[in-house]
Symmetry: C2
Subunit: 245 residues, 2 copies
């Protein structure tokens, strides 16, 4: 049976980190919100699960994945679950916790990216928190991007199995998520990211290598890959961008 | 061999979620930063790991746990790893992903608690972002506490194994973390939390039941349990608190 991925339609968002793993593995999956109501799919099907009073383990928010009877919420949790099934997790049991630790650090940075345009309240419009957003975004560019990226570059450098992968000597879902994080930052902050490859050569090489993998390249040019836009996590507001110090 | 827990001394912080599990299980563990330099412990020992150029899998930030050769970062990841070893995870394999999903949702809320006093930049003093903090904290009280807590209350209510535990019919590390989250919110926002038990009776009962467990009660009154203070995640700034709507 195929996996059912529940995530908002119309934006990449956190669901994209799961999609990249499913696409790289050419897994059989249904994008629930993009399906038709007549087939029992569509956004209504997702809202039914979120609001269900009988679901034994209701999720808090999308993305979540259904695999048979199991309903698995939270991006990093979904990838921890799917990784071994898709051949995208380290074979070594211990390294799976290393992978999960890295994925959660990616998730922490993703949350900070979101907060650059919504520092005061998720429920307020961006326009109503623009001044605060500018302060937070510029701090993000000056302090947080360097802090996280220096760390991730060091992870590659110190990986005993080689600097081509975040963990182990083979591709894992963490590499795919790292691609998405860097790619999204290029979209949101092109000025800040201009010299990214000079500062973080291993990360830049990883980004390009992932983009060139046949399954990923096919996905990235397909209609299934939505364009970045200003409803997602990575938003391009020129006033929030600036050259890196 | 005993577990080595690496976390800042002087505050509960994210390390506390791990401590509660270790203490409930009466596990043998060393609090590295509270140890003496002469024993190779202390904060210097933690900084050495964080800055190490030879550590094969360096962590990004505390807390992290060493178990033999394994170095495990990220609070939820540590608990996912420790849970089964300490008898604090569901026995059912599938439910372990439910537990991890809940723990990650607790972590998301913890991050939002932190951002109530640091909405603009982690590197800035609270005093320099007080106005923004007030907006964010009041939004947190009006919108975020109800959204998260209604969800967690519903998780208890819909748990097919009974409403005494977040997942499965027995105590897990998620219950301990839920205790800490509620307890910390009582400290930080006493006015907002005043009628918590009326709105969320199952969560309030869970909080009290956890506090009364013999091992936990012994820990909570010991010197090992640090008092809440204004360097941790849960900070009591009266100007950020207000009655819930």
């Amino acid at each position: 049976m195929s996996y059912q991925l529940y995530y908002w339609d119309g934006l990449q968002g956190r669901g994209e980190f799961v999609r990249l793993a499913l696409e790289e593995a050419r897994a059989d999956y249904v994008e629930v919100c993009r399906g038709s109501e007549s087939a029992g799919l569509g956004i209504g099907a997702m809202m039914d699960v979120l609001g269900s009073k009988s679901e034994p383990h209701p999720p808090y928010a999308p993305p979540f994945l259904r695999d048979g009877d199991l309903l698995i919420p939270q991006t990093a949790n979904i990838l921890f679950y799917l990784g071994p099934k898709l051949g995208l997790a380290p074979r070594d049991e211990g390294l799976r916790y290393v992978a999960n630790g890295l994925q959660l650090t990616v998730a922490d940075m993703v949350t900070e990216v979101h907060d650059t345009h919504h520092p005061l309240a998720t429920g307020l419009y961006y326009e109503d928190q623009k001044d605060a957003a500018k302060i937070r975004a510029h701090d993000f560019i000056d302090n947080r991007i360097p802090k996280f990226m220096r760390y991730f570059e060091r992870v590659l450098k110190q990986n005993p199995d080689g600097d081509q992968h975040m963990v182990s000597g083979a591709l894992t879902y963490v590499d795919l998520s790292m691609f998405q994080l860097i790619d999204g930052l290029h979209y949101a902050f092109p000025r800040a990211m201009k010299r990214f490859g000079e500062h973080y050569p291993r990360l830049a090489a990883l980004h390009d290598a992932v983009a060139e993998r046949p399954n990923l390249a096919a996905y990235l040019t397909s209609k299934r890959r939505l364009a970045y836009n200003e409803t997602g996590i990575f938003r391009h507001y020129p006033e929030l961008d600036k050259a890196a110090r």
